[in-house]
């Protein structure tokens, strides 16, 4: 059977990172996180391409329990409502499935947060697409988050970049993205939703691996400057790892 894997069981909901309640001045940091990873360890990645048959290109990405699917349509005619643009246009749409989060959503239509994530996604991808070749055409990128367990925007950016490559849209480079959260003086790479919620702040970095150009950098919450720098470095390392996996999967598809 192709592309088969055994999904890992969800961690028990009650498990939290160990907290020191003693009055010791020296706090002992847990070596391993709730799911057994080290601080600088990525979650297990699963990538697939061409999963939406009617799209020009598509990709599916899992980071353990974060699951994201992306479909790319285009190049096609630009919308008549928008102003004339000789250069190509990239339009990104990110939506959370109603069942993506632990509490099911009853909202219909796009929320403000989804609109913001869509705009951030577009900024992250635009620099990588050769828009000068897509004369007076548009490319639509649709990302649907099927399950959100932390690192959602990073997964969306990575997945969208794979889908664009799968659609044979000419790109300057792939875009790999990674998130890091800062909690208790420790920087954790690729945090789960629980780790993100417990963290004081988090950083997302999206980078084009071959030129090491950062296309998106998003910081949220409170981050001491030393930790912020360490978090960004960790993200860049994480992105390098993600980029290697993206390349391997894209090249494997060529032989099929």
């Amino acid at each position: 059977m192709l592309n088969c894997y055994t999904p890992r069981r969800a961690p028990p909901a009650a498990v939290a990172v160990e907290e020191q309640t003693s009055a010791d001045s020296s706090r002992k940091r847990p070596e391993h996180r709730g799911d057994g990873r080290k601080a600088s360890e990525l979650r297990r990645v699963y990538l697939d391409l061409g999963v939406v048959s009617q799209a020009s290109g598509s990709a599916y990405l899992e980071l353990d329990h974060t699951k994201v699917i992306c479909a790319v349509y285009g190049p096609h005619a630009q919308s008549m409502d928008t102003a004339f643009s000789e250069e190509g246009q990239l339009k990104c749409d990110l939506r959370m499935a109603p069942f993506a989060q632990p509490k099911r959503s009853e909202v219909r239509g796009q929320t403000d947060e989804e609109r913001e994530l869509s705009a951030t996604l577009q900024q992250a991808l635009e620099a990588s697409v050769r828009l000068d070749l897509l004369t007076k055409t548009a490319v639509d990128v649709y990302v649907t988050v099927l399950a959100a367990d932390g690192g959602v925007l990073g997964a969306a950016i990575t997945c969208a970049s794979l889908a664009l490559a799968n659609a044979s849209i000419e790109l300057f480079d792939l875009v790999a993205a990674c998130t890091a959260a800062c909690a208790d003086g420790q920087v954790l790479l690729d945090p789960t939703a629980q780790e993100e919620a417990a963290a004081g702040g988090s950083v997302l970095v999206a980078v084009m691996p071959s030129s090491r150009e950062v296309t998106q950098w998003r910081q949220r919450g409170r981050l001491p400057s030393a930790q912020a720098a360490a978090a960004v470095e960790l993200c860049m390392d994480g992105c390098a790892g993600v980029a290697t996996m993206m390349r391997a999967r894209l090249l494997a598809q060529v032989d099929k």
Binding site: S168, F172, D173, M208, P209
Partner: protein
Amino acid sequence: MASTQLACPGDRLGRASEFTSGPGTYTRGPHIFASLVGPVLQQEGAEGGLPVITVRGGRNAQDQVIEVGDVVMARVTRVRALLASVEILCAGETVLREAYNGIIKKEDVRATEVDRVDMGQSFRPGDIVRARVSSLGDARQYYLTTAAPDLGVRWAKSDASGAIMVPVSWQEMQCPVTGVREPRKCARPDAS
């Protein structure tokens, strides 16, 4: 370089001093990089120039993009006094996944006697026309031209019988069933 080398966007392929950048690649600084996923191919350079390095992608997205000068096949949707509206269906050899809008203005129908063109005698809705993109136009449509002998109506149905008509001159098509002639700006048939 092995003949079966595969590349991903962003992979460095060679030096710009040794190769020319072809489709699927781009030049940045002194190097040439891939911009598609696929096998890397080397071809002879033009007239003893540097060899051309290209990457062949799977489904070529660039084929869906129309540029000025491209020859396209379009279906006429509306005919007005000053222009005919068309839907562009094919660009070169590629069938477009989604049609683009285009117009053929009265002065672009033919090369001679441009002010005496009667649009109703040049095109009818439903005709398939071979045209060339003369300009990117505006937000709504491309501007096309049929002002050349090899451009114009390639396929049209007879009003009388519904049969597919045959061109008899650059200005008339004839129904093979009834013999009735209808005015069109015809494209010269390809030499078979």
